[in-house]
Symmetry: C2
Subunit: 116 residues, 2 copies
DNA sequence: CAGACATAGTACGACAGACGTAGTACGCCA
DNA sequence: TGGCGTACTACGTCTGTCGTACTATGTCTG
């Protein structure tokens, strides 16, 4: 099975993270698992990549962090959650449009297999 | 019109260059123009990016350089041409397969517009 | 009871590819 | 004469990714 080198995805990690946060706020480890799940195990974001994306995107105001209980029943332990902002939504929309163009352009160069 | 930031394409610049060399040997400036043309002006590779890709890919033995006349009629001026190697062809094939998976994975995250 | 594994991160430094800027050199055209 | 197209080269910077390592807690298992 072809495994994706994450360098390929460079430039789209932020968008992937935001796509998850579009549904509902989440946190580091959770997002990491969701990415693995949604991609059928084909893509596993590195922890360092993920957390540095959080820092960057919070600085850019695409996301906001807040703390909440790990366990709703409350064992006292907290987690850092992230929530997408309006600016984040706008950015996400732009990147989705950009993706369409990018895909088209790359496919003009790259050999495509028919009927699959 | 959406313009592609080349960072998005990072990881596929080499493949795009190779796709052009699959057809016939070419040289820096020529490849640059072909990329602009094939992409309908949507992607313009930076000179520095292009030439550093040549260096890297020659080191990796994906391409070979040779010099030839700029003008077949011969004004004496030479250009550096590049030709894809067998290793380059193999690499290109691998990247094309990888692209299929990459595209699928990214599109599992990114909102897709229907019927366009 | 020890060790592995899952959860949930933080810190630090290295690397590679892309990019900005600049410079060379030649020919052509206005 | 100066700008533009052609055809590069050199050098340094930036950014996102990644490797490595460390902390801390809880659960499961042999």
């Amino acid at each position: 099975m072809v495994e994706i080198s994450s360098d390929v995805i460079r430039g789209y990690n932020d968008t992937i993270i935001l796509s998850i946060l579009m549904k509902e706020p989440s946190y580091g480890y959770g997002i990491s698992r969701q990415i693995k799940e949604i991609s059928d195990g084909k893509y596993a974001i590195k922890e360092t990549t993920l957390y540095s994306a959080f820092t960057r995107m919070e600085k850019n105001r695409y996301i906001e962090s807040f703390t909440a209980d790990e366990d709703p029943k409350g064992n006292g332990k907290k987690r850092t959650y992230y929530r997408i902002t309006d600016e984040g939504r706008t950015y996400y929309g732009t990147k989705c449009e950009e993706w369409d163009v990018t895909r088209e352009v790359i496919e003009k160069f790259i050999a495509q297999k028919e009927g699959e």
